[in-house]
């Protein structure tokens, strides 16, 4: 059945069809850490003295992001802090919050939990009771971003790290391409580059790691992660795309990598043709940066009568 291509250990935990490598637990862990560090270096994600805020849900992606970035803390290159968002999803979110807290404690990282309820006066369960809601994930996306941006300023963070992985990135590229959404396509990339001082730069250290390997890394390292499905998750276009990619990858093992690599090459051209530089002002209601009178979070809140 083959042994580890790196060290010969017979206990292999992964066979990578894309590279032909078979790896034992230790060599696999090392290969993930090496790859993430390469991405961080290549994309200039961090500079000495950065204070990086991790958006820590307790799920595999954010826990692994925290774990690997913590090696930079140990080497006194950066400082870390973390924020966990409690959307208010009864029976689902509580466990993730507890796991997130435990990781922050274990690593001695300043951490806060911020709820939708305390930020907006309404939680997701309440929002979903409304007749004409916009779909759970739309609120999550907009409200989380609002909380994370604010937390970054409160912590004095210079960067925000999210757990986006290779699957997330290739799904976003394909979705926006197939939908002809060139505006959103132009926004995809390793870093968010906004011309507004009001936004903290976002980085994606795991963007070249397949989602499955992130889960495998967490299990191989014995990291406690929140394993559960959100009760509001539903069939979505993203899921259809994800299924197509996972079907394709069986016979074309490098397809996710090549999608990302190809996109990264044409990205500068897309950006210069398509990206608008919005004028940012402050939202009249909450003071967060917005290109309109009201930011999206406040637009939603007004709709919800909050």
């Amino acid at each position: 059945m083959g042994s580890c291509t790196k060290c010969g250990n017979p206990n292999v935990i992964i066979k990578r069809k894309a590279s032909g490598q078979a790896l034992c637990k230790d060599c696999f862990i090392e290969s993930i850490e090496k790859k993430v560090k390469q991405t961080i270096k290549k994309e200039n994600f961090i500079e000495k003295g950065d204070k990086v805020l991790v958006a820590l849900s307790g799920g595999k992606d954010s826990v692994v992001t925290l774990e690997i970035l913590n090696s930079y803390v140990k080497r006194h290159i950066i400082e870390l802090c973390a924020v966990t968002i409690d959307e208010g999803i009864a029976g689902y979110r509580e466990e993730g919050v507890e796991i997130a807290k435990a990781h922050a404690d274990r690593l001695g990282i300043p951490h806060k939990v911020v709820s939708f309820k305390e930020s907006f006066g309404i939680d997701l369960d309440e929002i979903m009771k409304n007749e004409n809601h916009r779909g759970s994930c739309t609120y999550c996306g907009v409200f989380r971003r609002w909380i994370i941006n604010r937390a970054a300023r409160e912590f004095g963070a210079t960067k925000i790290a999210t757990g986006h992985n290779l699957d997330d990135e290739t799904q976003a590229i394909l979705m926006n391409y197939l939908e002809g959404n060139t505006e959103n396509l132009a926004k995809i990339g390793p870093k968010t580059e906004s011309n507004s001082e009001l936004f903290t730069v976002k980085i994606k250290p795991l963007r070249e790691i397949p989602e499955k390997e992130i889960g495998l890394y967490a299990l191989a390292k014995g990291l406690d992660i929140h394993l559960a499905g959100c009760p509001y998750a539903q069939e979505s276009f993203r899921m259809e795309i994800s299924n197509i990619l996972n079907e394709l990858v069986k016979e074309h093992p490098t397809i996710k990598y090549s999608t990302l690599r190809g996109f990264d090459k044409i990205r500068p051209a897309i950006r210069s043709e398509m990206a608008h530089d919005y004028e940012f002002d402050r939202c009249e209601r909450c003071g967060e940066p917005s290109s309109n009178r009201l930011c999206r979070a406040c637009t939603f809140l007004e709709e919800l009568g909050k």
Binding site: M1, I13, K15, K25, K212, L227, G229, A233, S242
Partner: protein
């Protein structure tokens, strides 16, 4: 021959005759190997691993939609 199968909190005994790999079992159960990590007797294994008498097999779903 029999083995124990664990998925989440569900544990069941299963019978096998002949060779069975983790991959065969995943296919039988209509589970996607893209979303699952497999353990045999507590250790992570690859899909080609064969299941033997008395093994404890655990599937951990690491990818959820949404």
């Amino acid at each position: 021959m029999s083995f124990t199968l664990k998925i989440k909190d569900k544990v069941e005994k299963r019978e096998i005759d002949g060779d069975l790999t983790i991959k065969d079992l995943l296919d039988d159960l209509d589970l996607s190997s893209e979303t699952m990590v497999s353990k045999k007797n507590g250790e992570i294994v690859i899909e080609e691993e064969t299941i033997e008498d008395g093994d404890e097999i655990e599937f951990i779903q690491i990818i959820y939609g949404g």
